[in-house]
């Protein structure tokens, strides 16, 4: 367990092999779903789609411009927010509450509601002691589906904006939402939860069980409909655990096989969407280019993290740090999970990130700070990456002697402006809110650890909120009015501060003509571009946070080397 073993290496190879193999399969299927073409689920669920449209009175042939699309999206989320907010405030009076949990405090309810509608699933609470089955199921699990579906819907509007020309129509939000939920998320999570139940994940409506332990004390074992929520929390890059300790809880993640599958599920849809993207914009190569860029960051981060975790800890001599790791599955699987969950904006955990070595913790944080573009949240990762593509094309595209263009669409002042807003919004949250927390008593009182580690905790929390990740460094006590409200606002800005500019770009791009490619065109599907994109992400994303990071995890790492911990 103290060394990186061959078995673990083989596991990694199988993992990435599967990911690369499944990407075109699922990606191709999704491209058919969203293009409205025939696919194999249509005979099975097509009737339900039609029925849904009839029920909510949607004309399935009607498309809207980007503004209407955005307004529909915002309306939908406001309604979702209000609903979850209210059922939490009154959960004691509502059914399906066998543990007799009391009403949730207003600020916590605000935070939880925002957290779930923004696909963040930041949890300031312990699920089993705070929320009733009703809230978990019709509140949170529903949002697990639709918040993920929203990410994909936004991406679809963007893709249409890219491949269409001289039109203002970017699609219909309701249709995109329905199709994603019905044909992608629902079948996959049903399939996945059946496998999970087979592995031993609980799925029932029983009240919590009290058992006698070997030591003779009473222990309450929480129960509930976990498997169904876990399936979608992984697939939809939600990450909100049914139980407090998330996927390190044996009822959420019982076996090494379930662990393997749950990790694969984190990256599956975000990775496949790159293929869908390529297919729909007319060049599969473009999709693989983005996939390769994301994979580069993932593998680079993973390698550094594994190296850091296995390096001798100067305090324990030659032993790696084990505290807080998932001891059942070993260090590698703890590191894998921490890398994937932060890269993919998932936020579920199977180890406590607080206990990762400073370097691994920093990689996890950088994964989030770079804008959640390393596969990222479903849909969100790819449209986030698109923002960086726009910036890269704009900065480097001029060097070929033409005004910048991407996939035949000119990148002009409006697109640059929107891209800048999308980059600024999360950066604003992370830096300004963290800075606020680091000076005031409101913020400092929540810190458990001293020194640079405490700063890392604060930075991590706001990064997680702004990146709609939802994982926590866990050392920070965040169930306070200050953190609930600031983190809640942070999540909103981090989500909609990116979605709205992206949709605006989609709308503007749809109106443009497509310039046919030639040898004078700036190529966006080769190694050179991958290198450029990586450089721009690192420079813009990284330099923004370099000063803050150097005072947090970098300092901590350097101190650890001389034997000082916090």
């Amino acid at each position: 367990m103290n060394e990186f073993s061959l078995i673990e290496f083989i596991q990694l190879v199988i993992f990435f092999g599967l990911l690369i193999g499944l990407t075109p399969v699922l990606g191709n299927y999704m491209s058919k779903v969203f293009a409205g073409n025939k696919h194999f689920m249509l005979p099975v669920l097509g009737w339900l789609e039609k029925y849904t449209y009839k029920l909510v009175r949607i004309n399935p042939t009607e498309e809207t411009n980007w503004k209407t699309y955005t307004i529909n999206l915002l309306l939908f989320h406001s309604a979702g927010f209000t609903f979850i907010f209210l059922i939490q405030l009154f959960q004691a009076y509502l059914p399906l509450n066998p543990a007799n949990l009391s009403d949730v405090s207003w600020h916590s309810a605000f935070n939880i509601s925002v957290s779930f509608i923004t696909n963040t699933n930041w949890q300031d609470y312990a699920g089993e002691t705070t929320l009733s089955y009703l809230v978990q199921m019709i509140g949170l699990t529903v949002q697990n589906f639709v918040s993920a579906a929203t990410g994909i819907a936004v991406l679809m509007a963007l893709i249409r904006g890219i491949f269409r020309k001289t039109t203002d129509r970017v699609g219909n939000f309701w249709i995109d939402l329905t199709r994603t939920t019905l044909y992608v998320l629902l079948p996959l999570s049903i399939l996945f939860s059946i496998v999970l139940v087979g592995q031993g994940v609980v799925q029932n409506f029983k009240p919590y069980e009290a058992v006698q332990t070997l030591q003779g004390t009473q222990q309450v074992i929480p129960m509930g409909p976990a498997a169904s929520q876990i399936a979608i929390k992984q697939l939809g890059t939600n990450g909100g655990g049914f139980f407090n300790s998330n996927s390190s809880h044996p009822f959420e993640n019982p076996t090494p096989f379930s662990n393997f599958l749950e990790m694969l599920a984190i990256l599956l849809i975000p990775a496949s969407l790159t293929f869908t993207y390529g297919k729909m914009v007319g060049s599969v190569r473009q999709g693989w280019t983005i996939f390769a860029t994301m994979l580069f960051f993932l593998v680079a981060g993973l390698s550094i993290s594994i190296y850091a975790e296995y390096s001798a800890n100067p305090i324990f001599g030659h032993l790696p740090l084990m505290e807080g790791k998932e001891t059942r599955f070993g260090i590698t699987n703890s590191v894998l999970w921490s890398t994937f969950t932060t890269a993919a904006s998932n936020g579920s955990v199977n180890a406590m990130h607080d206990s990762l070595s400073p370097v691994t913790g920093m990689i996890a944080m950088i994964n989030i700070m770079l804008g959640e573009v390393i596969f990222g949240g479903v849909g969100a990762g790819l449209y986030g990456m698109f923002i960086f593509i726009i910036l890269t094309v704009f900065i480097a595209g001029l060097m070929v002697g033409r005004t910048p263009e991407y996939l035949g669409k000119k990148v002009e002042a409006f697109e640059v402006q929107m891209a800048i807003i999308a980059v600024l919004a999360p950066a604003f949250v992370i830096l300004i809110f963290s800075a606020w927390a680091a000076v005031g008593n409101n913020g400092l009182s929540g810190i458990n650890n001293a020194g640079p580690h405490g700063l890392s905790e604060i930075l991590y929390a706001f990064s997680s909120a702004a990146g709609n990740n939802g994982s926590a460094f866990a050392g920070l006590n965040v169930n306070t009015v200050f953190y609930n409200i600031t983190l809640g606002i942070g999540m909103l800005i981090g989500r909609f501060g990116v979605i709205i500019p992206v949709l605006a770009i989609a709308g503007r791009m749809a109106e443009k003509k497509i310039i046919p490619p030639s040898s004078g065109t700036f190529r966006t599907d080769n190694l050179l571009f991958i290198g450029l994109l990586i450089a721009v992400i690192l420079i813009i994303g990284g330099l923004t946070f370099f000063p803050a990071l150097s005072l947090g995890p970098v300092t901590e790492h350097l101190l650890l080397r001389i034997g000082i911990t916090f």
Partner: protein, 692 residues
Amino acid sequence: MKTKQHTSLFNQNLIVQAVKYSIIKLNPALLIRNPVIFMVGIGALLTTIIIFYGIYQGSFSSFNLKIAIWLWITVLFSNFSEAIAEGRGKAQANSLKKNRTQIKARKLNGKQEISVYATELKKGDMVICEEGDVIPSDGEVIEGIASVDESAITGESAPVIRENGGDRSAVTGGTKVISDRILIRITTESGNTFIDRMIALVEGAKRQKTPNEIALSILLSGLSIIFLLAVVTLPSFFGYSLKASGLTQSQNLTLPVLIALLVCLIPTTIGGLLSAIGISGMDRLLQRNVIATSGRAIEAAGDVDVLLLDKTGTITLGNRMATDFIPAEDVSVEELADAAQLSSLSDETPEGRSIVVLAKEKFNIRGRDMNSLHATFIPFTAQSRMSGVDIRKDDGKLHQIRKGSSEAIRNFIHNNNGFYPQKIKDTVSAIARQGATPLVVAKDKKVLGLIHLKDIVKGGIKQRFAELRKMGIKTVMITGDNPLTAAAIAAEAGVDDFMAEAKPEDKLRRIREEQINGHLVGMIGDGTNDAPALAQADIGIAMNSGTQAAREAGNMVDLDSNPTKLIEVVEVGKQLLMTRGSLTTFSIANDVAKYFAIIPALALPLYASKDGTGVLSALNIMNLMSPQSAILSAIIFNAIIIILLVPLALKGVRYRPVTANKALTRNLFIFGLGGIIAPFIGIKLIDLLINL
């Protein structure tokens, strides 16, 4: 205009002027046009106030003073780069301006002629110009014909003909009538003539930012805001770390240090050079004797991916040339050449002259005196469609020698009861298929043979088109020739496509089609009937010799009236965009090194071990002497890099016609990788120097 002596980048006069303007441009109202540099200006001002406040409080920090000085220098260097670019442009424009200030115009008021200043002329006014008069403003000839000396704007000393109607009716203000008398209608308001517009474009104050410049400014401002966030939050994180290291808050970062950090991070290099790059693009166009009516046009030139090129003048030399004599059966080639030469001796057309030249080159047949031969020249007419000579021999017999198109000669032979051989017919169509023109030569009733007249494709044009193809630009040849001829010439010249038997409206249609398919089209034209196409094209270059309508429709005017100019204009556009992109990349790449200089310097006291150095000094990979010299070195580098790059901004990055990928790889290597490495070296050197 031909003031090309300032190919040397700087002369003393210009520099003195530029220094003066760098200070004038400190005016906040002017400075705010450049948000990045404006931010530096505010930083400089704040630092200065802090110094004076410190003095007032009884303390003085020489370190702050150094920071303030270098911040001001950064602003001045940026202003200087703009001023010097403007100065160079103005120097060219001024020579034109001088010509026009004191001109008097002879305005027609009804029938009466009154004398007014040129600047008082309005659109629609009628003026008279006679021998020796300077044309007061841009206009159109309504009546008369005159020869005009346009050397003031074109540099070409040979006078040109300007007449009413037709394609040579436009006259430009500042040029001089050297013979005859013309009536001119003024077509441009005073202050809006070509020269006025050109002057405005190089003068900073009136210069509009181009679309790409606006977009780039937004990017640069956005980056500045992001870095501003990183810097304003630093005291909080730093304060936290001070407390954690057991130090007092009083050791927190000072404002001048934060300002220095911010100025190092925001893209000052490209921010400072941006307008200089734009102006010098204009200037480079001007050096090629092309006037753009907007900066936007130059950018569009870089984007153009379809060029419509007129065959004549652009692809081929203006005229067809005789290249071969092909005798009929039982006629010797010398006999044919002799007859052909005789028939062409008095033929002043370029084709005729080329026949005489060929006969001399091939068979050494010299020119003869027409009179001594008793020869009468029969000129070409639209009815006969042939030309030649009638020669009365000493025996009194009249010989008719004719050359002309196959059809015309056949009629001629038939009329003389001669025989037109099949072999000739075959050769005629064979030559036509090659894209050449066959001229048949006959004497009395006998066909002597053929002259092979060929369109001569300009030397090097094929290679030029191949280069354009590499850059992703499609060339389309426009010609009035029949499709057969056009195809052959197109193949020889290596154009991608051609339009045969093209009428002006076909051009317009073709441009629209290309644009619907997403292409940007460039063309060059002169006639009034070219005007719609010039207006429709993304880049329409009007020849100065053309009509006023054409000049108004296009977005550029080529003073040399040289059709190949279109290709050069595209190159200028591409070079401008490349320069802008390369310096942006360089500027952003520079940030990496500056971080490694400043962050460890700031964090020195944090979490310090016994010797007083904090753990973050591990990031001081350049091994800079002290925190203060690290910060100073970074801002000094930041300032002088602007001035070092001014020549590059003015001249443009090296331009080569290669594929986009090659251009990108090259520029990325130099400006991207170079941009990361250069400041590491530069900052280290400055650190060594200031610690000497």
